[in-house]
Amino acid sequence: MFRKILIANRGEIALRILRACRTLGVEAVVAYSEADRDSLPVQLADEAICIGPADARRSYLSAPAVISAAIVTGCDAVHPGYGFLSEDETFAEVVGAHDLTFIGPPPPVLDRFASKEGTRRLLGGYGLPTIPGSDGMLRDDEHALAEAARIGYPVLIKPSAGGGGKGMRMVRTPRELDSAIKVCRSEARSAFGDDSLYLEKWLEDNRHVEVQVAVDRYGQGVHLGERDCSVQRRHQKILEEAPTPALSPAARADLCERAIRAVVAAGYENVGTLEFLVDGAGDFYFIEINCRIQVEHPVTEMLTGIDLVATQIRIAAGEPLGFSQADVQLRGHAIEFRINAEDPAHEFRPGAGIVESFHAPGGPGIRMDSHLYPGYEVPPYYDSLLGKLIAWGPDRATAIARGRSALDELVVDGITTNVEIHKALLTNPTFLDGRMTTNLLDRIGSAAFLAAAART
């Protein structure tokens, strides 16, 4: 096991990693930017080190700053969390070159799964169905038009680098394609420094279902069930739950078993998530793998009782997984609500400011992962996630009832949050019936969705 881990992230995930380190008896150092000097992870850490100014490019995204901080604090491993440097295989390599361990897949494994298009080919070869897509990256407009015609409209334009739904556009006609590609290229270039794009067939009324896996260095791998992340706003997940209401128990088992077989065969290592689209007929298509801990990992932790962050750290340290598929028991139902500093009344504009009061709900089956505290000033520089409220129950109806009660109990004063959209979801018949698709909110627009919920 590691002696000391540098946590190269912020907010709730820095806190989550700190907790996992404490559970494992490993020392931890929180690396922070000047804007996060008063943040909760910094205050709770045994040690903290300022690595740069508020601008993430010179702090959380600066590989030299993060690695230098790890070295001068005597760490032997770096945990990147999610976002920032978590999926940067060059960073992982440089970490390794300084005799530090990157907590995640080893660099050669990251490299193998770095390209989404290459990964679809790789895992497609190990039996995972994939969505019909373009033959490689789009070379130019003619190539894009030809490929879109071959796949059939509507098509989704996707950047090869990055994730989190950024830089994606759906187009229905050849006329839209041309200008959409220009926009996507420039977005991808500025967000990821790589403007390679590819096309995918757009599945109408699809659902987003992902499988959590954990594979150790010795080829022992398990799946930890799936999560349904269909509730999205403009490709950004806002609510996740497990098990998915979209599939029967037999179909879920089939999906998860095929996913773990494919990644073990392809030589994956550490925790990871395979994302699938599920169409109306219940057919599933592999879209991409996330080689990191995900925001929504607590949903799975609630069902399995397994600490995924600790598991991730143990695997990176070279420990065997220590449990088998038969040991993974999925109990009950869990729903995670992402609490964001966003204003639903104003196009979900991100906000910042001082949290005047904060109360995290409690009670049976309720978990709140958040870095808020009364008096905390939410800085305007980073993403808007304030915390995650997770409700577990023996069945979906109980999880919903507990979630509703917990959302009512939650207090975040001083900044506007998106909590209203969650309350609206819990009154929406489509959601309550478990029939939500990824366009549930965007089809009528979030504002109209909120207004409709207010009328019921």
Binding site: A35, R37, A54, P379
Partner: protein, 252 residues
Amino acid sequence: MPDDRDARRADRDAAGPGPDARDAAARAADHAGIDRLAATLVPALIAKLGTLNVGELEVHEGDWRVRLRRPAGASATYGRRVTDRPSRTHPGHEQHGHAPGTPEPHRSSRALPGPGHGASASAAASNGSGPAGATSPGLAPVGPGRGGEPVTSSGVGEGGHGPGPSDPNADAAAQIATSPAVGVFQPGPKSVAGTRVRAGDRLGVVDMLGVPQEVVAPVDGIVVGVIVDAGTAVEYGQELVHLQPAVATEGR
């Protein structure tokens, strides 16, 4: 500060059922007001208070009010880190809670051997003599509501050795050369106590993964002494070299 927040809350309550009820025009006006304060008023006020022998300044502009006040015993807020705690890895940290310009004796005796020692120690002592000492105002902005936000927005993206976006002690920090990076500090020849330096002069480097990052003098002045020993691991923004500003020296 509390009264400002109460005022804002009352404003919201009066405007409607929730915080979102404020109309866009009012928000735009607020933003314009904050920008104006950040860009012009706050820096001017800080400079003004630095030269005046008063404890507090207050200016009203539209609905916004800015009050700058010297903390009682300016030294108390001088250390930048609210969250500071003894740390094995930050051997340079423990001095942050000390009065400005009063390096620990053992540290200064190591850092400033030889004839320069006595001079720098006395300079430091007079410098830290109290809140009225014009050379170490130790300013802390109070109000409007959002703490240092205006200062923050103007501070971001500038050189790596500024006082830092959230640092309320903008003027006080101008006398301290801070670390431009996380790494290992190596003082240079110009960091010797008594050396007369110009703003921008290189006082030493912080080695970040083998790449030297320059520690530069923020103002014209005379080096009082290094705060952190050579070879020490330092973090970004950490105080490294103490300077007596030229203006204050001539004024005495």
